[in-house]
């Protein structure tokens, strides 16, 4: 099966990107042969709907699992509709993220995070 990981770079050692819609690259890992392929995130510079476009890209790549830091509500709703499973990763490398997934050490993302990965969901500061 294929796993999509939001990535800051084009190597297995690159850090996973906590953002989904605007990460620079996606790593596509194939469990069949342990290979990595890196693609540009076509949604990166979209003025609107980056999360949607990134989600569409994952669907079109036929991944069954996505590893990322945070997924906003638009992307999340698209992925939910597709039955792809999403898991949360922290600041680890892409290959470490895959390893953690295989060891069942990752938490599933069961609801959308803050839109656009802001902080605080509109709560006042202080």
């Amino acid at each position: 099966m294929k796993i999509g990981i939001s990535s800051t770079g084009v190597a297995a050692e690159s850090l996973a990107d906590p953002r989904f819609g605007r990460c620079s690259h996606f790593a596509i890992y194939d469990t069949a042969d342990g290979s990595y392929r890196f693609i540009d995130n076509s949604a990166q510079s979209a003025s609107g709907g980056a999360g949607i476009a990134a989600a569409q890209q994952m669907i079109d790549e036929d991944v069954e699992v996505i590893l990322t830091g945070n997924m906003g509500p638009n992307a999340f709703n698209v992925i939910k509709g597709s039955e792809i499973k999403v898991y949360r990763v922290g600041s680890v490398s892409v290959e470490k993220a895959v390893q953690l997934f295989k060891e069942a050490k990752l938490e599933a993302i069961s609801e959308a995070g803050a839109a656009h990965f802001g902080m605080g969901q509109g709560r006042g500061g202080f």
Binding site: S45, S47, G90, K105, H116, G118, M119, G125
Partner: protein, 298 residues
């Protein structure tokens, strides 16, 4: 950390406050996202270390060599952008409907240059800015690019100050998405309150942590109180009340942060505000570090 400064209404003092806060923070990276009226760079000297053409919206172009003047394109265009087999650049929204229907394949969508994008190295940190081609659109895509360019220079514990534009449309939406904190600059006028409510609603809609300050608060103490009540209702902390101060006009004309004038009452109030703001930024930063480090189940 990223701080976006917006106001809804124009002329409330966003840029003046952005400059002051950036100065107080030390070497904050700056992004001037008020791309229709970019004033930030006037304050800073510095050298442009990068200049790039920016292509925003796509626009349709008709190749007259292949055009058979069947008029099918004009009939599908919803924006009145095709007249006499010519594309109206202003009305064209780059949707591609005409491209899809042209039997001669005479129409293509081409990215149109809308701005020059700069990275300017100032004595107090990098400035990311753009100069629009006149009549072009300050689209969300441009703002996103400016922010991306700026981010590369922000250190782990550093700050990116984003000076936003007036309004609540596309450019403002792109200034507040994926930012860590929004600071609303309010002016105590009925117009200012009206506009503040709408931009606050926008921030709430996108779920972004929002703070506020009232500039020139003593022009109308009653409306200042109304603003504070509104913010309290919305869970928006008011972290500063800045008095009207003639020194501000002086500081703008001398192109210096108002906090550089030791006796300026506005400067003093902004310093106080910065104290509160930097605490909030630090708290948020610590929180985010914890969240990012997570992701591994025991």
């Amino acid at each position: 950390m990223e701080l976006t400064i917006i106001s809804g209404k124009g002329g409330t003092g966003k840029t003046m406050i952005s400059v002051a806060l950036a100065s107080l923070s030390g070497n904050a990276v700056k992004a001037d996202c008020d791309v229709d009226a970019p004033n930030l760079y006037l304050y800073y000297g510095g050298d442009d270390i990068k200049k790039e053409s920016f292509y925003a919206a796509k626009k349709a172009t008709i190749d007259s060599r292949f055009c058979k003047q069947c008029g099918l394109c004009e009939s599908v265009c919803r924006f009145g952008a095709i007249v006499d087999y010519k594309i109206d650049h202003v009305n064209c929204e780059g949707c591609g409907a005409c491209v899809l229907v042209c039997p001669e394949k005479a129409i293509t969508l081409k990215p149109e240059k809308s701005a020059d994008v700069y990275l300017t190295k100032t004595p107090t940190g990098m400035l990311s800015r753009a100069k629009m081609t006149v009549g072009s659109d300050g689209s969300g895509k441009l703002i996103t690019q400016l922010r991306q360019n700026a981010r590369k220079f922000v250190e782990d514990d550093g700050l990116l100050v984003i000076d936003g534009s007036p309004g609540i449309g596309c450019p403002v939406i792109s200034s507040v998405t994926a930012t860590d904190l929004v600071l609303l600059v309010a002016e105590p006028t009925l117009s200012g309150l009206n506009d503040l409510k709408r931009v606050a609603e926008l921030c709430r809609h996108f779920g972004i942590q929002t703070l506020a300050c009232v500039n020139k608060y003593d022009i109308n103490p009653q409306i200042t109180e109304e603003i504070k009540s509104f913010c309290a209702e919305q869970g928006i902390s008011v972290i500063g009340e800045i008095p009207f101060d003639d020194t501000v006009m002086k500081s703008i004309n001398e192109l210096k942060p108002v906090t550089g004038y030791p006796n300026s009452i506005a400067g003093i109030a902004i310093r106080k505000m910065w104290g509160r703001l930097s605490d909030i930024l630090e708290t948020s930063r610590q929180k985010r570090l914890k969240e990012l480090d997570g992701g591994e189940l025991d």
